[in-house]
Symmetry: D2
Subunit: 141 residues, 4 copies
């Protein structure tokens, strides 16, 4: 029996209680067939240079959105193998949103991508990550 | 007249007062000819999965170490064009350290790399970033 | 007056005469509103390990598809700032196809992505690149 | 008994007979404790834009140098998981050289980096790749 998007949403929401995600203020906003959406309300602590978020905050959006896109389909927490983020424009103060989507779900390695938007829906960054999705018996390098 | 490493250390330490860097707990540890070193004491809020830091925290280490390696030589805050991080092993609780080094200082784009170590000096991740180092007159894309 | 996709196809086809693209065997297959498609017939010289293409061949597919996705809209040859490729499965002998799509067209930096398929339409790799799209007056780093 | 660098050089030279490497013109130049060096004589077919190599050629240099840095220590051909290349300046006609170095040799994933130089020793690009180094029993994703 396949989980519905509502069931996936409920399952992922419970897992959104990791100390990191609570600290950053991540909330799960939506689970659709193709993507999941996460959001983070603005905090003044995100400011790296006057009027814009530090690149690391945007990297966190890509990491978490990609991770949850995978968790929606794979079900387990997965270690990140690598992460790549392209910055398109400065991220101004306001709620940040990211949509994550699986590119390819593999037996060992799964790749997902994410797009990060500012409060007006402008694309501020996009990126992708590879995650280790081998079953527990396979030891990680 | 060229700045000495001590003068660079003092200049960068003053700039380490960005809201993001204070929030994360970044401190500048050393400025050498070839690299700069930053550190972040462990916080339980870094935990993404039991016993290890969220990948985003490590991405922040790479971003900030690369940024300061560039700031040591370029002098201005620089916007990130992109960031790439490879994760080598789980980052366990304990102070995290990163060494950043400029790979190539360019007129428009500068590339720097960083290595992230745990409290026992084990390499947990490495990565690189490109930053926009054109003079203010050049508008960013 | 805006170019039609047919006009773009004809303009790009003429530019497909670079020594590199001829040597590799690249041909432009389609120009759509959202993406462009390029193809390369298999050559035994692509073999890196028995029965599969060297990763560098797939990197070329991503580079060229992304480049032409940008050329379709920007009109000039553009230097690559960086390139990132994720490999999903071995690329077996047979014509390789790649679809390139612009993620964000910027004044200075433009980012595009590409997906690479084998002769049966299986996704073998995907990736992205940033390209320098500043007007000639801006000197490159 | 550990292989000497001369023994590694001889072993890798024999493996340099892959169709791809012969086609591109790769030769192994040196094996040192820390790095391996490969070279490719210039071909007019490398030209992507007037007077400079296509980015894909440089990507091939990074891929192959990283692959051989790993082969020097791991001994087996290894599939590429991903590849990231930063372009620092246009690669002009003349022999291209790349030095590859292992960043971390892991049980499942190994990361290596490479720097690409033109005929005058100018750094034209640098990058890194992750390769799958699990023993054959582990199926690839």
């Amino acid at each position: 029996m396949t989980e519905t998007n509502i069931q996936i949403f409920e399952r992922l929401s419970r897992r959104f209680s990791s100390p990191h995600h609570e600290w950053m203020g991540f909330t799960l906003k939506a689970v659709e067939d193709e993507w999941v959406e996460v959001a983070v309300p603005w905090r003044d602590e995100f400011v790296g240079a006057p009027g814009m978020a530090q690149g690391a905050i945007i990297a966190a959006m890509v990491d978490v959105a990609a991770e949850y896109a995978i968790a929606a389909r794979f079900g387990n927490p997965v270690p990140t193998i690598n992460l790549h983020i392209d910055y398109h424009r400065p991220a101004r103060p306001g709620t940040l949103t990211a949509r994550g989507r699986v590119i390819r779900l593999g037996a060992t390695v799964t790749t997902a991508e994410a797009r990060v938007f500012d409060f007006e829906g402008e694309l501020v960054a996009s990126g992708r990550g590879s995650f280790f999705t081998a079953r527990p018996s396979t030891k990680r390098g």
